[in-house]
């Protein structure tokens, strides 16, 4: 089914997605959007794992499981992050990342 699509395509997509995610993380002022950017990054990594697994090393499911675990971890991470964001919102009355800079220098 995938025979005609080169591996590189997947990699290009994942790489672009990865850096788009990073770009989002670097420029979005909203904490939640930053979190979403993280999800993009993790998703791109998953694509990588899966594609490598399928194309190059199909004998085991290592990449597949790696993706699985990453998804679970992402969920956990998101949960904690959102809890903290809510806490931030309570404390700062804002979820603008630039407002969260009491501690510096």
């Amino acid at each position: 089914m995938t025979g005609t699509i080169p591996l590189m395509y997947f990699l290009v997509i994942s790489t672009l997605m990865f850096f788009i995610g990073i770009y989002g993380f670097l420029t979005r002022r909203n904490l939640i959007t930053m979190l979403m950017s993280i999800e993009l990054i993790l998703n791109s990594v998953n694509i990588n794992f899966v594609a490598f697994n399928k194309y190059l090393y199909p004998q085991h499911l290592s990449g597949h499981f790696f993706s699985l675990i990453v998804i679970a971890v992402a969920a956990a991470e998101a949960a904690v992050a959102i809890a903290i964001i809510i806490n931030i919102y309570r404390n700062f009355k804002s979820i603008d990342v630039d407002k969260v800079d009491q501690m510096r220098y």
Binding site: L11, I20, G21, T27, R29, T33, L40, I47, I71, A75
Partner: protein, 179 residues
Amino acid sequence: MNSELMFFILAGMILIFSVMTVTTRRILRAAVYLLFVLISTAGLYFMLNYNFLAAVQLTVYAGGIVVLIIFSILLTSHISERAVVAGWKQNLLSALSVVAGAALTLITMFNYTFTASSEPASGSSVKDVGTALVSYGDNGFALPFEVISILLLAAMIGAIIVARREKLKIEEKEIRREN
């Protein structure tokens, strides 16, 4: 031919919605675009015949995380609220850095010849996945499976403890007023 078309559609969606996720100024829309990206990714997994993974992607990511995000958005922002954008300097520098990074990575990748393993492929049906998930021998994933449960438990407790609203005492209010 069919699969190629499929791939390009999914790829296009992923890229477009990714970009939109990180560029839109409406936060709720961003969450929805993210959802599209995740779903398209699940489509890719389906294409690669990793059905179980695709299902997990849909349920956990699309069903779980995005919903969580949307809830939190609702908790912390007004729907009509437009996100404040970063300054042009920040945008430009970030863009430069990211483009450079992407370029470097892609060039490096293109210059690398991936060689596929000649060993026969293992199945990727739900049954195979399940077997691998509970086996504790070579290439078994029982241990990560167990450990992730600890992680999820800890994350849950952590989330609760952080998000739990306590009865604020008078002195704390005073502290906050000072802040």
